[in-house]
Symmetry: none
């Protein structure tokens, strides 16, 4: 099996200032393509450390992927290491990357400086995969087989996470065409509302009966829920092909888990809600207290959200709840802002204000601390409404503010998804 | 300078299932104690890989810290690697850890199984630091100096993040008493609004004149701007100590960069705005179109934001801009929703609606695509207002929706910060 090392470069990782997220994203993509990740290494911005991590990586593996150390400033030295490793004798300018640099800078109204142009200059013995999202291109070094006793390819990616992720498809294609990778098919089933351990128990019998060519991975995420990834390795050994096998396994999973399954491919709750609303020609609005705009932010992260999303009132203060959303003063005085009565009034209020078909409202205690024994930090009330119906529900999580805001928002989106689905039936 | 390698063990890291957070926590603690982290390595659950990562780590460094691979199940093999490396000939039971295991299991109402007791059994040539939060103790192997040509110590920590973190103080104490540690001091200066390459040019002369004991790192982030991290290694060689040196370098940086510097420690724009508002007893509200709630979400991510943040209207549709925020129909019809006139009216509208002292409003084209030659995707108008004043400004970025929303939001927060600062003078 083709194997790889991932190297991330940057003193900021080694002093603990940032968490290295590139490694995980790259590992996921390699894994999906059928490449085994043998090791991940993070090292500082010195030539010796980078060269040694690459060299020892290629001794053991066919592929080394490096990220970082490609910025225009002096603390970035990866390119000069690649110059040496590829035994280049000069730098050459990649015209495709040069075009991109000009476009990016002019679209931002910035002058093109010599320091920017230098980013398009690469060691002559490199292949280049242009980076459409940033100025530093991907450099590819293909070593002669005698160097490591096996085919060995080095990929150098930018360190900025969205640029590294953006270049990854092209890198994986290049790896595919350079090495003969075994065939793996994946299917991801998205679930929300059942914790990982409870999920494992619910599907234990189903999991035990999986054919030997199938592997299952649990991929939990605070906002997306638990994704179940099914992978079929190589031939199925039966009458049905891998896609039929995945269809039938997905169908049986849905039967066990019911409406906890919200998609049978990699989708987010906000994308699923967007699809339902677009297809039915309906609109939605949001009223948020404790989630502070995150539900709006998630809904509007989907391109084309303006077709079905009208807007939100983030009623962080009680005066905004009363004066803008029209929550009766008595409701807040009598039941408190964190109550089913309040979120029901908020949901109705924002629907009336915006004229949307549906709405969702949240009020809770994000913490850390605050709250009472009856209403602890981590409690959220969610209200959903349509023209005829209002429903409310509550969820309880922990004491971590950021994590709570994420979970509150995701629970509200999931409640909205289930509500809209029922209402449109 | 004493240096270290951090090794994390687990197949779940290599397939991208989980992000390794232990490395960062350990790196921060080592860095603070004056230990330079030379590398971080993540490897799978095999004896060969673990032994090789430890051995190559100790060749280059005085300290190797390993986490993971200590669970009671058979895929955890770290202990047997340590048995071999320490040339032990038998396992011995650590009575302190045995007590803890009994206490933990009985407090959870669980029977003590043989598999649990085995956790207190360690290779004879190890020192033990008890793990009060879990069953697997920290094992310490002190190698004879002739083995690596220098003092070399291996620490094996549990992989569960809160257990690893809980044991870290004791591990750092042990490192302190085993090695004489040199001193490193850091200072992070936060900047916004100047791209990394332009920043490098602006401070080139200043950077060139840095004393040899000082290192500078550029840490760009789409929402936080570019952080400049100054590190003073060891003695300064002059009359002033490291903190005085950092004070004076920070002051000269501020002089060069002016109000592009928003903090002289690790802070976010929303935290700085929160501090200014809390200290002045003022309040703010937001009106968001293209940013779709992200500004609200950033402001409310700060604990205690309810003291100064009243709320937001996310006016994604024009009808909400007109009906809720009171933007005159003529403004949108005449100038368009993406215009200085519209964001000025939105800013005034939300301030009136919520009664806040200040407000900020955004309207732009997040893309991808859409827009026109005159108003391309990536363009955002920002309006800021106080009781007496309204100002508007525009920024142009690229064509990536998520990235644009982040940059629009950060630019709006930075504009708000500068506006409030000027108004309160």
């Amino acid at each position: 099996m083709t194997s790889a090392r991932i190297c991330t470069i940057g003193d900021e990782i080694l002093i603990g200032q940032i968490t290295d997220t590139n490694s995980r994203v790259i590992a996921k993509a390699l894994q999906k393509a059928g490449v085994r990740v043998e090791s991940m290494v993070s090292i500082g911005d010195t030539k010796e450390a980078i060269a040694s991590a690459i060299d020892s990586g290629l001794k053991k593996n066919s592929v080394v992927i490096v990220t970082g150390g490609l910025g225009p400033t002096k603390d970035d030295v990866t390119k000069s290491v690649i110059y040496d490793l590829s035994q280049s004798r000069k730098y050459v300018t990649d015209s495709r990357q040069l075009d991109i640099i000009h476009k990016i800078l002019s679209s931002r109204g910035l002058d093109v400086l010599e320091i920017n142009l230098r980013q398009a200059s690469v060691p002559e013995n490199c292949d280049v995969i242009p980076n459409r999202l940033g100025t530093a291109p991907v450099m590819v070094v293909r070593f002669p087989e005698e160097k490591y006793g096996h085919k060995a390819v080095l990929y150098s990616l930018p360190g900025v996470p969205f640029e590294a992720e953006g270049a990854l498809d092209d890198v994986i294609s290049d790896i595919r065409s350079s090495f003969s990778l075994s065939d793996i098919r994946h299917r991801t089933v998205m679930t929300y509302g059942i914790a990982e351990s409870a999920l494992a128990r619910r599907i234990a019998a189903w999991e035990d009966s999986l054919p030997s060519c199938v592997r299952l991975a649990y991929l939990p995420d605070p906002v997306k829920g638990v994704a179940l990834r099914l992978s079929v390795y190589g031939p199925t050994g039966g009458n049905s092909g891998p896609e039929e096998m995945l269809d039938s396994l997905t169908a049986s999973l849905k039967e066990i888990l019911g409406d906890a399954v919200y998609a049978d491919r990699e989708q987010t709750l906000q994308e699923v809600i967007g699809d339902i609303l677009r297809n039915s020609g309906k609109t939605v609005s949001t009223a948020e207290s404790c989630t502070g705009g995150m539900i709006a932010s998630l809904l509007t992260s989907v391109p084309g959200a303006s077709e079905y999303y009208l807007g939100s009132v983030v009623s962080y203060s009680n005066s905004v709840k009363e004066n803008v959303l029209g929550v009766p003063h008595d409701v807040i005085a009598g039941f408190g802002a964190v109550s089913p009565e309040c979120v029901a009034a908020m949901a109705k209020g924002v629907r009336r204000l915006t004229g949307s078909d549906f709405s969702v409202a949240t009020s809770g205690i994000a913490g850390p601390g605050g709250g009472s024994e009856e209403k602890p930090a981590g409690l959220v009330w969610v209200g959903v409404s349509s023209v005829n119906t209002v429903e409310t529900m509550s969820f309880v999580f922990g004491n971590d503010r950021i994590r709570n805001i994420e979970r509150f928002s995701a629970s509200a989106l999931d409640s909205l998804r289930k509500f809209i689905t029922r209402q449109l039936k």
